[in-house]
């Protein structure tokens, strides 16, 4: 016989996948980002994928979503090639640095600062 607790757990995991998945898509198009922050826990807790694989898989989820969202903005007339290219160029350099740093620097301290700044930025959006 299947235990009741296990069934509840299974349903909760499925529900987490559905909810976080839909929210990731909606956040990505409405805010222009942040979907990855929902896709990672969706994979980690909803589908029991380990942290590293969850991060890797989340990128594959976010790629088509971001293309679709970017196209939607462009179609509605929101785009600026110079601005896009400049920031992208910086992001490519930064992405390479980040990937190298990841292997050498412990993430702990940096993530604390990062999340604190995130909360601060959130407050700035409200006031």
């Amino acid at each position: 016989m299947v235990k009741k607790g296990e069934v509840v757990k299974k349903v909760a995991k499925k529900a987490a996948t559905v909810l976080l998945g839909v929210l990731a898509g909606a956040a990505n198009i409405l805010f222009g980002g942040g979907g990855g922050m929902l896709a990672v826990p969706a994979l980690q807790y909803g589908a029991e994928v380990d942290e590293k694989r969850a991060h890797a898989s989340a990128i594959e989820v976010m790629l088509p979503l971001s293309v679709a969202s970017a196209v939607a903005y462009t179609v509605r007339g929101v785009w600026d090639v110079t601005l896009g290219l400049t920031v992208s160029a910086g992001a490519v350099v930064g992405g390479a640095i980040g990937a190298l740093l990841l292997k050498k620097v412990p993430k702990g301290g940096l993530s604390l600062i990062f999340y604190a700044v995130m909360v601060y930025a959130g407050i700035r959006f409200l006031v």
Binding site: T17, N28, F31, L43, Y73, V87, A89, I97, G98, G108
Partner: protein
């Protein structure tokens, strides 16, 4: 001079994204508050800036067999529904509403993540002590 700041903003977002911290969530506020990029354009820039790096990372992860493709497919199906909802909802929402929602999103996720980082830190310390005894 502005172009240098925009490049730097991209670098900061890229570093954080490359470390798997979610650089986009910080690149958008940097563009809006520090560089006066209007809201919808900042969102578009972030989406576009994510693509080249993510493409490289995506190919590398796939090559290293780090991707759970079946899970990706399932999640993508639900996320596509979310994108559609967002697409049709967006024109009905004012910029103020979206900015507030994003603010709440950042506060909720920032504080949840801070909480988990602390829990992880104390758990590690606790486990170490248990091993010693």
């Amino acid at each position: 001079m502005r172009i240098v700041w925009l490049l730097l903003a991209g670098v900061v977002g890229g570093v954080l994204g490359g470390m798997g911290l979610g650089g986009g969530t910080l690149l958008i506020p940097i563009l809006i508050f520090l560089l006066d990029v209007p809201y919808p354009l900042a969102a578009w820039v972030n989406l576009v800036a994510f693509l080249p790096t993510a493409l490289v990372a995506g190919v590398l992860h796939a090559k290293n067999k780090m991707v759970e493709w079946r899970r990706v497919g399932v999640l993508l199906a639900f996320a596509a529904v979310g994108v559609l909802i967002g697409f049709f909802l967006a024109p009905a929402l004012s910029e103020t509403v979206i900015r507030r929602a994003f603010g709440i999103f950042l506060i909720v996720f920032g504080s949840c993540s801070l909480f988990f980082v602390f829990v992880g830190y104390f758990k590690k310390k606790h486990d170490k002590r248990n091993i010693l005894h």
